[in-house]
Symmetry: C2
Subunit: 99 residues, 2 copies
Amino acid sequence: MAISKRKALSENQIQLIAKALADPRRYEILRRLGDHENALACGTVLECLEISPATLSHHMKELKTAGLVQQVRKGKFVSYLPQRDVLEAYFERLRKDLI
Amino acid sequence: MAISKRKALSENQIQLIAKALADPRRYEILRRLGDHENALACGTVLECLEISPATLSHHMKELKTAGLVQQVRKGKFVSYLPQRDVLEAYFERLRKDLI
DNA sequence: TCGATATTTCGACAACTATCGAATTGATGA
DNA sequence: TCATCAATTCGATAGTTGTCGAAATATCGA
């Protein structure tokens, strides 16, 4: 089949994604992740945004819970990988619901 | 030209839309508006959702501020018209930023 | 103009959330 | 094992927001 098959998002995940996108800081983080094909290191994000490590950790947790990023650990360091297919599924759902 | 021309959304409006979509009640309202080609009456929405008139008014104001609906007054009654082009512009922007 | 109905605004309150410093956990290299 | 650095969790706080009842505003028909 030509059409990509994505797993449908639950009502709950739709809400989690919407909330995740609604915070400017998280949006900015996602935007930066989107720029990079590879995973982006936690420390790198921290350099760009002027927030404390605790706050970043909080936001990344929200993004993980929403399924928008995946976490990769390499020794001491943590990186994040954007989950583009989840975003695509979200867009698709929004279009179906609202347009 | 075949391609629709949409006015670009400001940073601020992007945030307003994201916030507007993040509330389950507002999402539900938008979903119902999306179902109807014509404008949907305030009272009709009120019958569907179990919220007070004051709360509905609050949410509709948020949706208006975000540019997602337009308000039409017919005498005593108020109806709302979904602004599908704004939603489209929003999707387009998200895709450009995040994918 | 007046009374009735629809919607909005106001004021208050509870729930939620972004933020940070401090304490904690995880992982490495010496 | 221990010192060190990265990241997370905890606890507290300030700001935001969803909610409603009551008061105010808007519009119509009599």
